[in-house]
Symmetry: C2
Subunit: 407 residues, 2 copies
């Protein structure tokens, strides 16, 4: 008899009919003899409806009161799901974040969970009840309602799974798992049955937005096996878990890409200590996040410096870099918005040589010029011209045989 925490997002509980469908899913797993805790989000559209009402009245509402307001969204869903389960003859009890109690700090709108009381939930589970908990919300030391920020229901589910030492935390969403790459780019992309936390984190930060990255980190930290499944289709989904010793690993698990970046280059910068800070300091001061950074010594003992920023920050970053170039007496500033970053992700990379050379060879065969390269323990990223996105991803997908079923 396993203890399972399930989480259903706003789309999955968006109508009375969908809530009834979720109730049936929950009942089925409960009837198999499992103890089940269900975390739900607000019905899709509800949070925005409430925020619009608040906005009409006061565009500068305090975060404390906005939390009182939006937390009603999940409270409606927990009650409706309990009511739906009762209809199916399945005993269920709903709880708000305050009731269970999910204790957080007082950072309204982006609170962090500090502690969860287990007694009440364990008592109900012991009595054969399905326990339904409002996602996204908690209570602070003063008894004020807090929210964890958008997408926080995933975090609630993982935190509950950790506190209850659940056997699995299942996140139901509108995709049926994590794929080797985006199937809209490469139709031969294949759903992965397993992926490691590290790989998932690299995937998520690369733009494969299946799960909130914070909940993946949380699950990794507390060793909670996490499974991504579809609310609307049957299937095993993808299990996100720790790397197991002795497990035969594919070199590469997946290919991520990011079309939202732009590249900036400053050339002919004097080779002096502190020069990186002189260049990147003003960018950081303007709250522009920098992703990849590459530095080369040029032929004349000066430096070339290239980095990427989010495309929406490109113009501003280019201006700032122009000013810096004048101060430093740099030779030239260049920029390019039409790039894409393609990344190979895989823990198997650690123990297998030749990943980079296979990657470069596959791209060379398609005559795709590599503009930047960056590597980490389990990832290699390259920047290429945006027009090569599909060609590059497909070439790499084939070169690493990702369409093949896992061993």
């Amino acid at each position: 008899m396993a203890l399972i925490v399930q989480k259903y997002g706003g789309t999955s509980v968006g109508t009375a009919e969908r809530i009834e469908a979720v109730a049936e899913k929950v009942k089925r797993i409960h009837d198999l003899g499992n103890r089940v805790v269900v975390v739900v989000s607000a019905m899709s559209g509800e949070t925005n409806r409430l925020l619009t009402l608040a906005e009409q009245i006061n565009p500068n509402a305090s975060k404390r009161e906005l939390d009182v307001l939006v937390s009603t969204g999940e409270q409606v869903t927990i009650a409706l799901l309990a009511i739906a389960l009762e209809r199916l003859g399945c005993k269920a009890r709903s709880y708000t974040g305050a009731q269970v109690a999910i204790r957080t700090d007082s950072a309204h709108g982006k609170a962090r969970i500090q502690e969860i009381e287990r007694e009440r939930i364990e008592g109900d589970l012991g009595a054969g009840q399905v326990v339904i908990v409002a996602g996204f919300q908690g209570i602070d030391e003063q008894g004020s309602i807090t929210t964890l920020g958008r997408g926080g229901s995933d975090t609630t589910a993982v935190a509950l799974a950790a506190a209850l030492q659940a056997d699995e935390c299942q996140i139901f969403t509108d995709v049926d798992g994590v794929y080797t790459t985006d199937p809209r780019i490469e139709p031969r992309a294949r759903r992965l049955s397993r992926i490691t936390f590290e790989e998932m984190l690299e995937m998520a930060s690369q733009g494969s937005k299946v799960l909130q990255i914070r909940s993946v980190e949380f699950a990794g930290k507390y060793n909670v096996p996490l499974r991504v499944l579809s609310s609307f289709e049957e299937g095993e989904g993808t299990l996100i878990t720790f790397e197991e010793e002795g497990m035969e690993q594919a070199k590469i698990s997946a290919i991520a890409f990011n079309k939202d970046e732009a590249k900036l280059t400053i050339r002919g910068v004097p080779d002096q200590p502190g020069i990186a800070y002189s260049i990147l300091g003003p960018i950081a001061d303007a709250n522009i996040e920098i992703d990849m950074i590459v530095q080369n010594i040029g032929s004349d003992e000066t430096n070339d410096f290239t980095f990427t920023v989010h495309r929406s920050d490109y113009k501003r970053a280019l201006e700032l870099l122009g000013e810096t170039a004048k101060i430093l007496g740099a030779r030239e500033v260049r920029g390019d918005e039409n790039i894409v970053k393609i990344s190979l992700v895989g823990v198997g990379m650690r123990s297998h040589a030749g990943v980079a050379s296979t990657m470069f060879e596959a791209l060379a065969q398609e005559r795709i010029n590599i503009q930047m390269i960056s590597t980490s323990e389990i990832k290699i990223s390259v920047v290429v011209a945006e027009k090569y996105l599909e060609l590059g991803v497909r070439a790499l997908h084939a070169a690493f045989q990702l369409e093949r079923a896992e061993a």
Copy 2:
């Protein structure tokens, strides 16, 4: 510096604009140096919207889960009102029933308040905050959300006023006070500046549905001065208070009437002990409420028995009475749906003789036949044909000079 509890109902907070108008009213009284606690209902229509959702999923939902569901309605309003007050530069904090905490028994859907914690509210008031509390809801010993039943926000306001020993509890509604009679029947009806709790209770039970009767009882029990005011117009409203010694009282304060009753008569019943129970027992067993009861000894040593019931119960009561008549060998059963009960209400009646004779004289002058008479300490009620409603009320209003301003 007074402590004032104000309550605004669903219509008063039905839109964002109306919530802003309430915020302005609250700010004004707060700016005068008063400490203010505001109790609000759900925005009009919201409770029904939520119940319809639940009904769609499960017509037999448990009361516990329905309470979790509908209590979100008031929670939305408290947050929006706090947000509106912040906009006006008025410090405010909102609380759910659970947060304050309004402790109730566990009778979900019709819970009764047992205790209210004062510390938190008093702390906020001391810090110059307006305190906003969700009406209609509380929390039971197990930490489950409860509701007090429809209209329960009035009770929340009165209970808070009692717990905090407030100087006044102000109930804002869509009428501007209590009138000498319904102005739709008698255009010369006048707003009363004061009325006693006893009179108000007699008025309310007679169909002048300004306030929930339970909240009036509660206010009387805990000696909370209660004021009825309009949300939409300026004015002093009507203060409901205890009878003050030595206060010059009008004989009669107001005229109430009830068009929702029907009359039943059983004639020629043997004059035996237990006969009243034989007649009314089967009616009560069918959960039909009986209002007035009159019994006369007839000419032939048999009894005539007349009573009134709600008009919706008339047919069923007539059937039951027919069966009883057969068993008892009664002479005749009669019924009449086209009646109206008109009542004079006034604590001044106690010390002034001649109220009844003035009443009967006024009705006689208009040739209105009295079918039943019933009296209590501060009330005289008569039943007359329904067609005499307007004529009777106006004749009595004039006879007791109710259009004149109070002394």
